[in-house]
Each structure stands twice: as C-alpha cells, then as structure tokens.
Amino acid sequence: MAAVRVEAVLAAAEEQEAEKRRSITVEKELELEYDLGNLLAVDRNPPPAAALRGAGPRREALLQALARDNTQLLVSQLWELPAERAGGAGGPLVAQLPEPTFRLPREKPPPKPRPPTRWEQFARLKGIRRKKKTSLVWDEQAKEWRRRWGYRRAGGDPSRAWLAEVPAGADPEEDQFARLRREKRERVARNELNRLRNLARAHRAGSTVPAAPLHPTGHQDRDELRRVARVARVSTASLGRFQPRLPKEPAEPPSRSGGKKRRFEPLLGNLAAERSRQLEMLRDMSSKKPVLDITRAVNKQMRQEEAEAAAANKGKKQSKRGKRGRRQQRPGRSGKKSGARRQPQQQKAAGGGTGG
C-alpha cells in the first residue's frame, strides 16, 4: 500500500514537472538559428501561407502566436547565458552577451595607418623616445605651481616682457624686440611648412601619383627634381655622356649592365683575375687574423639593441597611448651607415689596420 502511494506521488511530481516544462517548450520542425550578440533569431520554417492569406483578426492572431513561439525560444536561449547580479546582491540580473556573429557591412572603410613623419623616422633610427613632461612647473617668482604654457604660465607672459638683452655679438643699433617677434614668426611659418610637407608626403605615399612632369612646377621636392634631372640628362642623342655637369654635381658612372641589378662574370674569361681571386680567398681563410671588423660589428649590434629597446618600450606603453601608439610601426634595422658613423675615429684607424 505504501509502495503504491510512493509511486503515485513520484508519478504526480513528474507530471507536474512536465507540465511546467510544457509551458516554456515550443515544438518546431527546423531549429531556429540564433545570433545572441544581436538578439537575433532566424526561423527557417515556412509559415502557414494558406492560413495567413485571409485578412483580418485571424491573421493577426496567427502572427502573434508565431511571434510568441519564436520569442519564447529566443528568450530561453538568452536565459541560458552566464548571468550575474550587477551591483551587488540586490542588483538586476545581467547576462553576458557573446560577440555578434551576423556579418554586417561597415559604415566607413577601416582606417589606414599613416606613414611616419620625417622627425618620427629620425627618432626611430636614433632610438629617441618621448620624455614625459609634467603639466605643472614650479614658478620661483610667483612661488606656486603654474602651467608649462598657456594662460598664466610659469615665467610670465612672454608678450609683456619688458627687457630684452642684447646678445654678445649682435649689432647694438638693432631692435631686439623686433628681432624676437620676427624669429617667432619665422619659427611658426617653418613649423607650418613642415606640417604641410609631412601631410603631402603621407598623401602621396597613399595614392599612386602619375609620373612627374619634366618642367619644374615649384611644388616638387629634392628627390623628385633629382629624378627628373637624371631623366633630362639621359634624353640626349649621346645618352648624357657629354653633358656638362654643375660644379658640385657628383659624376655618375654609366651603368653598363643597362638597368639589371645583378651581373654575372662570364665563365671562361679572364684567367689572371680568377687566379688572383682564388688566391686571395685562400689567404683569408688560412690567416689567423679575423676578416670581421670587431668594432664595427659591435657598434652595429649596439645600435640594433637600442632600437629594439625603444620598440619594446613603445609596445609596453601602447595600451596607454591609444591611437598614437598603435600607429607607430616597428623600427627597421639600422643600416651600415649609422654603424660606421658611430665609430670613434681612433678606433677606426686601429680597426682598419687589424681588419685589413
């Protein structure tokens, strides 16, 4: 008797559970596709076309029933997401949404990284990093912390400076105030010119510009003019061999390869040259002295390490820097030129002697 009752109780409990579940379960032929990041559900089941054809409240009721079923499924999925109580125990229940998966077109094309300016290139080569400056400076006269520049700056208003010292080698009749004003104007103008040049360079680097015209336009820079001058020199009947050069223009040897980058010696030709070359190679191999110039190699290595350290620091600070940090590219390897420049003079002579 007791056993029967227990079974009955269990069956009743199970039925209650099923009843509860029934209220939130929805039967569908095809499963819906969900994109929870966008709160989106797509139902592929064909809706009952015949039933929906008749206008009026019946159609509305059918649409509402369909909507209710689909919404129930979507909400069930959303409730399955990992949720937590925001703002302590009493706060609202908040679910973590995943990333949206449905691909939508962008509003604007993704931003292109701008090329570095002339100063940025130089700084990267030398390994110069930005010095973080404090926003306030101690002003001795006013005995308080003042801004570095701007309204009420430390050191007083420069436009109200009533004293301008005449520097040691200057003309005593010259108006110093006018000179200071003129120099500031020149500085501002040069800064603006450099900014526009950097912009033009960045713009040119982005777009493919057509070939430069051969006559000077006044808006060309040094490299372009050099290229154009070379083309103009070569476009004579004797291919530029007898063109007079300007006093400081370097003499350019004609490239006998005719534009090819690699030249290969003929296999069987100059036997004497081949003999001397092979003997020299054997001499280098058997000598005890190293062929590598140690000082040059060490300086080059130091240069590389410095550049890498600068890049690593930039990488660490990237999260703080935001856009600016992300835009700066990795430093390139320094060339042989900087390695040679760095070498102190006396070492070069000694290195030259031993390396030889």
Binding site: E17, I24, R53, L74, Q96, E99, L104, P110, P111, L196
Partner: protein, 304 residues
Amino acid sequence: VICCYRKPKTKRAKRFLEKREPKINENTKNAMLIKGGNANLTVTEVLKDIYAVKKPFAVLYKRKNITRPFEDQTSLEFFSKKSDCSLFLFGSHNKKRPNNLIIGRMFDYHVLDMIELGVEKFVSLKDIKNSKCPEGTKPMLIFAGDVFDVNEEYRRLKSLLIDFFRGPTVPSIRLAGLEYVLHFTAVDGKIYMRSYKVLLKKSGCKIPRIELEEMGPSLDLVMRRTHLASDDLYKLALKQPKSLKPKKKKNISHDAFGTTYGRIHMQKQDLSKLQTRKMKGLKKRPAEKSVEDGEASPKKLKSA
C-alpha cells in the same frame, strides 16, 4: 589625427571631427528619415513612428525634399555627409507608387544598398492604446520565413533590416529589460512587420514564459524596386580590419571529447644530469666508480 590642411582650432571641433573619422570599432549607425516632395499622411506617420523606435540614433528631417533616390543619389549622399548618418529611410507617395518607403544604407558616404517597399497597411503607435516600453530599448529581432534565405533580394533586405533596427552593440544585457521584439514574417510576397511588448510570466522553472502584447507600429510591406550593391563592393564593405579578429591562443588544442591539450616546448636536456628518484640499490659502489674512471682516462691519453 585629422589629416586635413586645416587643423581644428578648438577642442570641441577636434572632438567633432574625431567622432566622424573612420575607426576600427565603429560608432552605432545613425538613420536619417526624410520626406519626399509629395509625402502623404500615412508615410509621415510611418516615419515618425520609426523615429520613435530608433531614438536617439535617428534624425527626422521636418521639411520635404524633392528628390528621387533611384535616379539621383547625390542629395542623399550630401545629407549623409552632413549629418554623419549611414542608414536612411525615404518616404514618398505618388499614383504609380503609393505609400512608398525606400530603405537604404551607405558605405563611405556613398549609397550601398537601396530597397523600395510599399506600405499596404499601417497601424501606428498612437492607434494601439496600451503601455509602451521605454525609449532606446534594444529590440529582439526575429525573422520567420524561408524566403529570407532563398531569395537574394530578401537576404539583403534581412541584412538591411537588422542593420537598421539593431541599435548599439552591448557586452551585457539586463535580462528583465528584454521588453521589445520586432517580428518579420515573409509570406506570399508580403512582409509583415509586427512589434510586440514582451511580458515575462512566471513558469515553474528558471526560464520565464513569454506573453506578447501588440504594441508599436505594425506594417504590411511589399517589395518593389531594388538597387543592390555589386558583389565586390559589398565584399569590400564587409571587410573587417585584422585587429578585430579574435586572437588564437597558441599551443592549445581541443579534441572531440572536450579535453584540452597543451604543448610545452622544452630545451635540449642533458640526460646524464637528470634528477630522477634515488634508488639506493642502484647507487654506484666505489669499486665500480674506479673502474669507470680507469676506462675513461686511457681514451683521453690517446687523442693528445
């Protein structure tokens, strides 16, 4: 920052320009709702209701603009550039195309897709008298009907509607705040758009039971003309920058059963110097040690 020959002179101008420049993570798309030269009451009401749904990411233009989007897109592009809106909804009415709505989106301030829809029946927010949900609620979007996947035009329409009504992308959402649902059914060449307010009722278990109450604007739409972007332009617009791709964690793999495997890369080990467990029985006795040394030393003598 702003690559223009004119630098902004105030911080406010700089912020304004920064908001509009192309970014890796983009802003929420704004929509502009424009009336055509001869917009009638129905179309005006539709625009007003959609504006109410899309606030604050929409701009409703009050005056009528005499343009034909399908013929000339320059004025639309001009408006888009001025107000920084990439979605638009243009309403007009004439004898040939009554109650016309053109829904479209832009890429880089040029028209990407445009679809012309005719409104056959419209029930406005004002006509249904019950409580509405708060402004700016992120709606749930449901698309019913296999047509939305089979037909190319319907597929673009689905993408456009999602883009239009999606709202801002949020990392987390309050579960009790899921109040608004937009349901699109495509049947028989018609698209029924219905908006319902969601009521969460108690069910026995954790997941609540849903009851719907018809709320906001409901539209019966018919697809008319389309002006879709070419495949390569669409692909270009879909392209996301590489930095947005999720970074794969290296040296971690999963198998079919859900086990996670990791790889550890070790340097070369000197096996003679390995620290193993000490077995007292295997310890070298002094006699054996001397034998080994004796064997090792004659070899050394030979090489020198």
